[in-house]
């Protein structure tokens, strides 16, 4: 037994338990068919009272387990170990491997185990030799090691002996255990009667099963138990859908996701509601796995990225910049087609290069182990403030407070070709920078996928996304006879320009609000003042523009840059993070979440950020609606907010666990130990109330 040099009450009590167990086992050391420990009673039993010469028969290792303890299935899951039987059989006898009834899911904190509580009946088929003389007694000996766990685990072992008389076939009778055998047999997985296919990619397995005799509306539970380690992430939520008669199960790949998978082996459990109550059926799955052709899957992903980029054009962040682009187009429509085309190409290049650079920076930071995700730029108050300056200066430009260069953006004037190209390029750059608050929530999952691929693939996905964004403008610039279809430049453009200043001011207001979540109050005042300073400098610039020599202008610009840089230095994070609980919600805390889950408490976790517009809209139109809030209260669901406005590795880690790289993410933990429901990224009151009802029903 274990000799321990250290002391401590916990330790002493555990040692005492172990000693007690070993004493008990020592007492039963004389090879009985039944061994009792403080955690279970183990027996080696036979289905029949005797052995018939040449006829295979069934024996079982039976555990009668005390409440709250459990033993393990052939794949124990994230921890634990299956029992091991070493047989010592009479001459000519052979024993099969264990036939395992399907197990239960045994979640432990963030981990998942597979095993048995209450009763475990592990079946073994023994084949005797052909010529056994009747009247003889045979003895089956088995050394068994097993692990029994509650939260702590106790390894136990025992030597069993089972004596059976050799009898004639006509005298064979069932033993007292026969019913237990037939019950256990009900729970043995049967060969899968339907055709199945498995698709594999780098992160998940998709199992399609053509179920012919299952009523999809009566499905209660579907679960796939992998037979070995590393195939499936045991603790990850398994989602399934039924379309016509095809059951599709999506499984997250386990630790061996980097290696190719030739065949998927496991047990599929299907629980259906029937007139006679719940019908549970288990099936053996041994299906060859087909890797999804990476080229075609990459093609589809690139197509998604392209359409995603296209859709970015109608996202609100991008709108002010694109209004600028629209004006440029009207302006240049009168130019020769060659100029228009080169502007279009320059804009596209600006977009592509910016996307590539941001992506490269993100990949580089992640390669150095930083826990960041897409949208990370906006977690920096400096970036937010610089963006606000940029947009504010543009707004003032639109309002006519200042102008830049002689002709540049001077509406109604001729643009020189070269300046037009440079302007178009930087419009592209600007469009991407301003688009990031939109891409973060909208493309978060997509970019998360991109980042799980090789760097080259990831970069390609980002670039195609950018190409999608630039595509409409590129097409327009190549449109023949464009100038005939657009309104003629004129006084209306000046008016339009002035009106378009206001969406820019609105964006600035929003950015300042984001900033107010990131810095303390004194810093915020400095930030506000910097905008006043900026407008003052721009006004000075305009006044001095035509009169002053270049050196003074340069000095002015330098001074402005220094002043703004000093402002950035004055942006301090609040002394204490704003994590107090406000009314209806609690700040996200993984430890607290765990405790709540253990206490059987349902929890809704909202992963959000001040700079994520989708998140804010979801909160406004769905989560904060009275219907939803009152339902949360009635069901006693705890509402947690995980605010990712600023860097928080705890939140990044949780997002990663659900395969995300950015916000929003909505998780509803049912509170009965099951995995969280992942709600859609776009919430409605209906989606939330349905999900909450589903959770209530499960309880």
């Amino acid at each position: 037994m274990m000799i321990c040099q250290t002391t401590g009450f916990v330790r002493v009590s555990i040692i005492a338990t172990l000693l007690f167990a070993s004493l008990l086992m020592a007492a039963t050391e004389d090879k009985s068919s039944r061994i009792k420990t403080p955690h279970l009673t183990a027996s080696l039993v036979s289905e029949h009272k005797g052995v018939v010469s040449g006829q295979p028969f069934w024996v079982a290792l039976h555990f009668d387990i005390v409440p709250e303890w459990h033993t393990y299935w052939q794949n124990a899951g994230d921890s634990g170990n299956p029992p091991r039987i070493d047989w010592e059989l009479p001459e000519g006898f052979s024993a099969s491997e264990i036939h395992w009834p399907y197990p239960q899911r045994l979640p432990v904190g963030p981990l998942m185990n597979y095993g048995y509580s209450d009763q475990a009946m592990l079946l073994v088929e023994v084949t005797p030799p052909g010529a056994l003389p009747p009247g003889q007694t045979i003895e089956l000996l088995a050394d068994v090691k097993w692990l029994v766990c509650k939260v702590q685990c106790i390894p136990e072992e025992g030597s069993f002996s089972l004596s059976l008389p050799v009898i004639a076939a006509s005298r064979q009778t069932p033993s007292a255990w026969a019913d237990a055998f037939s019950d256990a047999r009900q729970r043995l997985p049967q060969p899968l009667p339907w055709s199945a296919t498995v698709d594999v990619n780098a992160s998940q397995l998709t199992v399609d099963i053509d179920m012919t005799d299952v009523d999809a509306s009566q499905l209660h539970d579907v679960y796939f138990y992998p037979v070995s380690y590393g195939i499936v992430e045991h603790a990850a939520r398994q989602s399934y859908t039924v379309n016509d008669s095809t059951l599709t199960i999506t499984l997250m790949r386990g630790d061996l996701r980097g290696q190719s998978l030739k065949q998927l082996d496991g047990v599929l459990l299907i629980a259906e509601r029937t007139a006679d109550g719940m019908l549970k059926r288990a099936f053996t799955v041994t299906t060859p796995a087909a890797p999804i052709q990476s080229s075609s899957s990459l093609g589809i992903i690139l197509l998604f990225a392209l359409s995603g980029g296209l859709l970015l054009n109608i996202m609100p962040c991008v709108f002010p910049i694109l209004s600028l682009k629209a004006l440029q187009i009207v302006q240049t429509a009168a130019q020769t087609p060659a100029v228009v085309r080169s502007n279009g190409v320059a804009f596209t290049l600006g977009v592509l290069i910016s996307f590539a650079m941001i992506a490269a920076l993100l990949l580089l930071l992640r390669a150095s182990g930083e826990a960041i995700g897409w949208g990370f730029q906006l977690q920096s108050p400096s970036f937010v403030l610089v963006l606000a300056w940029l947009l504010f200066a543009m707004g003032l430009l639109f309002s006519g407070l200042w102008s830049f260069g002689e002709n540049f953006m001077g509406l109604g004037q001729q643009l020189t070709t070269r300046r037009g190209v440079v302007g178009a390029f930087f419009t592209g750059v600007l469009a991407v920078i301003v688009a990031t608050p939109c891409t973060a929530p909208f493309m978060g999952a997509a970019l998360g996928y991109a980042l799980s691929q090789s760097n080259v693939t990831a970069l390609l996905i980002f670039i195609v996304l950018g190409f999608g964004m630039a595509l409409p403008w590129l097409l327009i610039s190549f449109w023949p006879g464009l100038s005939n279809r657009l309104p003629k430049p004129g006084a209306w453009m000046e008016l339009t320009k002035q009106i378009l200043a206001f969406p820019l001011y609105a964006t600035v207001a929003w950015l300042l609000w984001v900033l107010s979540q990131q810095v303390d109050q004194a810093s915020l005042l400095v930030a506000f003042m910097s905008l006043v300073l900026l407008s003052f400098f721009l006004w000075c610039w305009q006044k001095l523009r035509t009169k002053t020599r270049l050196i003074y202008k340069a000095a002015l610009v330098l001074l402005l840059i220094l002043a703004l840089a000093a402002t950035l230095g004055q942006q301090h994070a609040p002394a204490s993070a704003n994590h107090q609980n406000e009314g209806e919600w609690q700040a996200y805390d993984p430890v607290r979440l765990n405790e709540l889950q253990r206490n059987g408490q349902a929890v809704l976790v909202n992963f959000t950020a001040a700079w994520c517009i989708t998140c804010l809209v979801n909160e406004k139109v769905a989560i904060s609606r009275p219907t939803v809030q009152s339902q949360l209260r009635e069901q006693g669901v705890v509402y947690m907010k995980a605010d990712w406005t600023n860097k928080d590795p705890r939140i990044t880690e949780m997002l990663n666990r659900y395969g995300r790289n950015g916000v929003p993410l909505y998780l509803l933990f049912p509170g009965n130990g099951r995995d969280a429901l992942v709600l859609p990224n776009i919430l409605t009151v209906g989606i939330l109330t349905d999900a909450l009802q589903q959770v209530a029903a499960r309880e």
Partner: protein, 205 residues
């Protein structure tokens, strides 16, 4: 910003977003950079993984009351490995992710007692009371072993050896994956078994 056209846009992109949201996965993977972490050891010193760039780092999740951990400490197996590794310049961090009140949770003094009494030789014992490091790495069992190479890449994750039992007698016949991996790294060879099943008690999160 009006919400109505925005919501329209939202619905438009819903399909794409959901198509993607199923497709992504993250976590520690062999061949990828090991995520950085910082932790405080039993003597109150801070350890940041990235500070050990240029050295091989072994992470050992442990819980002194777990029978599987006892198997490797009572036999001296773990200590021998620790001594061999640290003698070769390897940084060995034993990490205790048990939450307060749970099995295996200890304070600094007790952790030092355990190191002394068991004659263990880790570089440091990190007290990960909040389980943050455990969760970051997805540590599942005690022991659960990870090896990070000099460039910061994760090169091994899994069990201590090839026989998942709590029986000391099995150590002799088992292949010690961590020793094999460290030897292969020293010899400049590829690690034969870089991902294996970790076995033991669950980490007491």
């Amino acid at each position: 910003m009006t919400t109505t056209p925005f919501r329209l846009a939202q619905y438009l992109v819903l399909g794409i977003v959901t198509a993607y949201s199923l497709a992504a996965h993250a976590g520690v993977s062999v061949g990828q950079p090991a995520p950085d972490f910082s932790g405080v050891d039993s003597n109150g010193n801070q350890h940041i993984l990235s500070q050990y760039k240029g050295k091989t780092v072994v992470l050992e999740w442990t819980n002194h009351d777990c029978p599987y951990v006892k198997k490797h400490y009572n036999s001296g197996n773990m200590q021998t490995l620790q001594k061999q590794a640290t003698a070769n310049g390897v940084v060995w961090l034993s990490i205790i992710s048990s939450r307060p009140g749970k099995q295996g949770h200890v304070r600094g003094a007790k952790a030092n007692d355990l190191t002394r009494s068991r004659n263990a030789a880790p570089t440091a014992v990190i007290l990960d009371e909040t389980s943050a490091i455990g969760r970051l790495y997805g540590a599942k069992t005690t022991p659960h072993m990870y090896i990070i190479d000099k460039t910061g890449q994760l090169v091994y994750m899994g069990g201590i050896d090839s026989i998942p039992s709590s029986d000391e007698a099995d150590i002799a016949g088992a292949k010690n994956y961590v020793r094999a991996a460290l030897d292969a790294m020293t010899a400049g060879k590829t690690i034969e078994d870089s991902i294996t099943r970790p076995y033991g008690c669950s980490v007491k999160y």
